[in-house]
């Protein structure tokens, strides 16, 4: 199994990714300590809202925080992307090198190949989640008591649930990639995504757009503060549900591929 996982790691150019992410972490660490957010000197660079809702001049710390908070926030959102790209990349790498036929000849468990794909994506999501938590900790280490810090703290509550979405995406596409190959799998994926985009556009044309009228991140933060139990339940139960779906997808893929291992040409 370790060999199969290492092969997938090579398949996504893992060494480069590890080097880049380590470099980014060090860069962010240096940047954060060079530009701490707890500087209270007022600057004329911009305005912000205080607790009473009045517009006041930003402090240097607030300005720095509002810029540096983009990095962990961006990573939180972009973190969804690599996991879904990697599931295609590892299957494509195997098709290119005919790895699946090779592993079929090895004295491995029947489901070991499929399990390795799911395990790899699981480990990748766990690592991305851990890395983002580290970035949030770095940001908070010398952050000021600002809106940016509060916003990041509330959103980080949902980090597990949010990054877990990439598990759901992988749970949907991996059965197609493993069973039909990447080319056909991508067709199915594109069809699903286009269908979703079509539905979204239909909603934009004919749906009730009033619900977006007052959409604001601070409304969401206030809602979380007013409904703490629901917020906690969502943040802890959604990763469990996502993991369950991921496991279910694995079982289904194993069942579909039960007698098909030798037929695969991809």
């Amino acid at each position: 199994m370790a060999g199969l996982l290492y092969k997938d790691f090579i398949g996504i150019k893992g060494r480069w990714i590890v080097l880049i992410l380590t470099g980014c972490t060090l860069f962010f660490l240096i940047l954060r300590f060079l530009f701490p957010g707890n500087v209270t000197t007022v600057t004329s660079m911009g305005m912000t809202e205080n607790e009473a809702g009045e517009l006041v001049e930003m402090s240097v710390g607030e300005l720095r925080d509002s810029m540096l908070v983009q990095l962990p926030l961006l990573f939180m959102i972009v973190g969804l992307y690599p996991a879904t790209t990697w599931s295609a990349a590892i299957c494509r790498h195997d098709e290119k090198n005919k790895t699946r036929q090779y592993t079929a000849a090895l004295p491995l468990d029947k489901n070991a190949y499929i399990a390795s794909k799911y395990l790899f994506i699981g480990i990748a999501v766990y690592s991305l989640f851990s890395l983002d938590t580290i970035w949030i900790m770095i940001f908070n280490s010398v952050a000021g008591d600002t809106n940016s810090a509060e916003c990041l703290m509330v959103l980080s509550q949902f980090l597990m649930a949010f990054l877990g979405l990439s598990l759901i995406l992988a749970a949907i596409e991996l059965p197609f990639f493993i069973t039909f190959g990447v080319k056909k799998g991508m067709l199915v994926k594109t069809a699903i995504l286009e269908g979703a985009a079509f539905l979204a556009m239909a909603y934009l044309f004919f749906g009730n757009l009033a619900i977006f009228k007052n959409f604001d991140i601070f409304i969401f933060i206030n809602w979380c503060e007013e409904h703490p139990l629901i917020a906690v339940l969502i943040s802890i139960l959604s990763p469990v549900a996502e993991l369950f779906l991921f496991w279910l997808s694995y079982r289904i893929t194993c069942r579909i591929n039960h007698n098909r291992e030798v037929e695969i040409n991809g």
């Binding site: 199994m1 370790a2 996982l5 766990y126 989640f129 851990s130 938590t133 580290i134 900790m137 770095i138 908070n140 280490s141 010398v142 952050a143 810090a149 597990m160 007013e226 409904h227 703490p228 139990l229 906690v232 339940l233 943040s235 802890i236 139960l237 990763p239 469990v240």
Partner: protein, 298 residues
Amino acid sequence: MDRKMETKRLFVYLAFAFGFTWIIFFAYIFSGNIWMADGTLSGMDQFVCLAMLFPALAALLTRYVTREGFAVTGRDSLLLGISFRDGKWIYFVLAMILPWVYFELGYALMLLLSPKAFDPSYPALLEITEQERPIIYIQPLTMMISGTIASFAAFGEEAGWRGYMMPKMIKLWGAKKAVAFGGILWGIWHWPLTYVGHNFGRDYVGYPFTGFAAMCVMCVFMGMILTFLTYRTGSIWPAAFLHAVNNSSPSILQYFINPDKITGWKADGAVSFVILLLPMMVIAVFLFVKFADMKVDA
């Protein structure tokens, strides 16, 4: 087994683990920080927790320097494999639930010794609103799930202490001595943080030396459970899960015990910590007896 080489590797690991971490810990201390100075975990307190990753880094570096290789599973490996076969799954479940059991028992023991400390209005003093009150009753579940998923920091420690140091020590000195020495060393590793008030605060008799001793005692007993889990499963993951859940202190009773109402010797920070962890120590001894009976082969 080349005892000289194994000893050398062990010392290289300890030098890396202590060196890296203590640089961070001392930088934290000398820049004037105190653990939970305003009653809550500050950003800097959380940041210093990242030093928990250094034992893992030390283990990897030692393996690189001493050319031991990076086998993922099996003998002399990183112990990263996960297997649920042969009933091993039970240890993973145990790792998640056990901290709740011993923390709840510990708080019950505290109440038994100081019944007057029971205070149903204590959540209000903790600024837990009526709306937030139900969260108290799902806190253990929350901590078990979030602790397990966000276990990377505890994984950092376990990959070093249980994944590298303990197998070496068990090879060299046998299980009993290894658990005792390993636990003491692990406790000493925490000393700079104990000094700034981590775990026991700073308001206890004999500060900081009784805190140092209590930390070592706690680490020896905790090490017994963690080593048992690692050897039973051949993996450091259950130990990482237990460590992470343990650090989240899952318990419902803790929200109804007012420490200001505990009087006398029981109110001392280090003593109350030992009382709290007494059930953990009993469980640790029970598991360690089982572990010592196993034919331990590193």
